[in-house]
């Protein structure tokens, strides 16, 4: 079974994140980045599937120069090869454009029996790229899998909701997004680090994918971020002395904050 895993290079949540003042997009130049932690679950799941059977895991990312680090991390974990789509014109792309580029890249890879994604990126976190990508590739779209099994040419997942767990089956090829409940991603090993250096990574531009630059980037975005304001620093908490009415005042506070 051949699997393509879409992985995103995101700003490290541990570092000071910000926005590019000129166009209000996420600043990806001046912060340390890494493979989105939520995508590690997709990589791990792909590796487990291939280790239990056969086939290859290809990791695919769209992102700036440094996004090569996200591919490298996945290769160190054990993926077989990488594809890095990078083109200055992609900068500022919205979710529809991101999914367009991913779809064309997956076609150029030669398709896949299974496309795996994370449940959301840890920066944009819209969770919509998987759905859009499945639509563009004409694949069954099975999202938020907390358990995944492949049997012959069907994939079965469990999706945990607040009230119930659903079991969903789809025919392969399919696209599945996975949650952080599905597995425990491995650390790369020393051998993995050394082996990754010898694994092939393709670098593609928009031209390689036959995409016109007018279809992507900030200019093609359907929406525009007009303004960004930094969240104000956390206020000091209020201490309410309990004078017999503590319970009522607590409930009042929670209601005012729309918690109850």
């Amino acid at each position: 079974m051949n699997i393509v895993v879409c992985v995103k290079y995101v700003p490290d949540a541990q570092s000071e994140r910000g926005f590019d003042a000129s166009d209000n997009t996420t600043d990806r130049e001046n912060v340390d980045g890494l493979l989105s932690e939520l995508d590690e679950y997709a990589v791990e799941e792909a590796l487990k599937l291939v280790e239990a059977g056969e086939g290859e895991v290809t990791v695919l990312t769209i992102g700036p120069e440094q996004a090569a680090d996200a591919v490298k991390k996945a290769l160190q974990m054990g993926a077989d090869k990488g594809v890095h789509v990078s083109d200055a014109a992609i900068s500022g792309s919205d979710a529809p454009a991101t999914s367009l580029v991913l779809a064309e890249a997956i076609r150029k890879i030669g398709g896949a029996d299974l496309v795996l994604t994370g449940m959301a990126s840890t920066d944009g976190s819209m969770s919509v790229v998987p759905a859009m990508l499945a639509e563009r590739l004409g694949l069954p779209q099975v999202t938020f899998a907390s358990e995944l099994t492949v049997d012959g040419d069907t994939v079965t997942i469990r999706r945990d909701g607040d009230a119930a767990s659903e079991t969903i089956t789809a025919s392969l090829p399919a696209l599945v997004s996975v949650t952080d409940q599905i597995n425990e991603p491995r650390y790369p090993s020393f051998k993995g680090i050394m082996a990754a250096k010898k694994k092939p990574v393709e670098r593609w531009s928009l031209a390689d994918l036959g995409i016109d630059s007018s279809q992507v980037g900030l200019g093609a975005a359907w929406t525009k971020v007009e303004d960004v304001t930094k969240r104000p620093p956390r206020q000091q908490g209020t201490i309410v002395p309990d004078e017999g009415d503590g319970g009522a005042r607590l409930a009042e506070f929670l209601a005012s904050q729309k918690f109850i």
């Binding site: 160190q76 491995r186 650390y187 790369p188 090993s189 020393f190 051998k191 680090i193 050394m194």
Partner: protein, 395 residues
């Protein structure tokens, strides 16, 4: 020349991620409970930490290291030691005292029997040299092993043996008198005693000042019988063989101490900028900031000495330098770095004030853990003896 290569640094960040993700969240609790985390060992094995200096045929990755295998091991010990000293020594002793003697002196069969599991972290091994009455003077070994028929019969006791009593300890190699040499001296050999052998008793864990998470036991042997082929290396060479593995161990302890000093510098720098006294961060007082500067100097010196020694060790493996050069560099690094580590914890706890005396802050644990660095794998006095001898003095 003055920086490690990109492969080494990449490996460092892997071990750091692991140490911060899998060790840091638990150390406080493990330390309080004197708990040896058996489950962590196979995880360290999966990372490849026990196999860095072991050839591929036994599950290791020596060939992948491009001549820098021992340096990689030191990086792993440093990074684990930066998070917890006990976990660092568990790796250091697991490789240096457990794996190394078998790898260097074992027969093919002994290697096949023990190494794959040791490298995978499924088992651990110990080396027992020290006895209640033979420490610095390790040649004063009293434990005896007598060849009776096709079995060694071992009698005696060992003290302070690391990794000897864990649930996954498979074997302990011990030095023992096996006879008298022609010039009347004790003939000392190393014998491998598998865990669970009748007559091999592991005493309850010691009540230690520090290294609470590390496994240390006294061992007793009474008419303990093992097959004749459990001799490790050559008969009569047990002591000499052991001394050879000590150089590596000293560099490894230096790396462990370096991890500690680095952590003390980080903790002290952060705390001194956030702690307010007299309305200002305490770091505005030169009495404080100069001490943090001293920590940075100790760290830098320790780093240069440790990795110079590690590099020499790798050079020696490649046949490009002598054992004597490594020995001298190892003792110099171990002596300086372990003594600096003790000073560094004293400085850091002082900067933390009352909080430094509280177990809630990690500096307190490092303070307790530091002292053993000046004692294990040869005391500071023994290092000075080795260094003086290396200079040709009659020490």
């Amino acid at each position: 020349m003055f920086q490690l290569g990109p492969d080494h640094e990449e490996f460092r960040s892997l071990v750091r991620d692991f140490a911060v993700g899998e060790v840091e969240p638990h150390v406080h609790e493990w330390d309080r409970a004197h708990h040896f985390p058996t489950d962590l060992i196979p995880k360290m094995g999966e990372l490849g930490l026990f196999g860095l200096v072991v050839p591929e045929e036994f599950g290791g990755s020596l060939e992948d290291s491009d001549g820098g295998a021992f340096t990689n091991l030191c990086i792993a010990i440093e990074e684990l030691g930066r998070v917890d000293q006990s976990i660092g020594i568990t790796l250091s002793a697991g490789v240096g005292l457990g794996i190394n003697p078998i790898l260097t002196y074992g027969t093919d069969e002994q290697k096949q029997t023990y190494l794959p599991d040791l490298v995978a972290g499924r088992t651990l091994a110990g080396f027992g040299l020290t006895e209640p009455d033979a420490g610095s003077d390790a040649g004063a070994t009293r434990t005896k092993a007598e060849l009776v028929g096709d079995e060694w019969v071992v009698n005696g006791a060992k003290a302070f043996i690391t990794n000897s009593g864990t649930d996954i300890t498979s074997v302990v190699a011990v030095t023992a008198r096996t006879g008298t040499t022609s010039d009347g001296k004790a003939e000392i050999s190393a014998i491998m005693v598998p865990s669970g052998t009748p007559g091999f008793e592991v005493a309850p864990a010691y009540d230690k000042l520090g290294w609470n998470i590390s496994d240390t036991h006294g061992l007793a042997f009474s008419d303990c019988r093992v097959p004749a082929e459990n001799l490790l290396g050559e008969r009569g060479h047990g002591f000499k063989q052991f001394l050879k593995t000590l150089d590596d161990g000293r560099i490894a302890i230096s790396a462990l101490a370096l991890g500690l000093i680095t952590r003390m510098r980080e903790e002290a720098a952060a705390y001194s900028q956030s702690r307010l006294a007299f309305g200002k961060p305490i770091a505005v007082n030169q009495g404080v900031s100069f001490q943090v500067a001293d920590l940075a100097v100790m760290e830098e010196t320790a780093r240069l000495l440790t990795y110079k020694a590690a590099w020499l060790k790798d050079e020696q493996e490649a046949g490009r330098t002598s054992v004597a050069k490594v020995k001298q560099a190892a003792s110099i690094a171990k002596l300086y770095t372990s003594e600096a580590a003790v000073s560094a914890t004293r400085i850091a706890t002082q900067i933390f004030g009352g909080n430094g005396f509280m177990e809630e802050y990690p500096v307190a644990r490092f303070y307790r853990d530091a002292k053993i660095l000046e004692i294990g794998e040869g005391t500071s006095e023994v290092q000075r003896m080795v260094i003086a001898r290396g200079l040709g003095l009659p020490a």
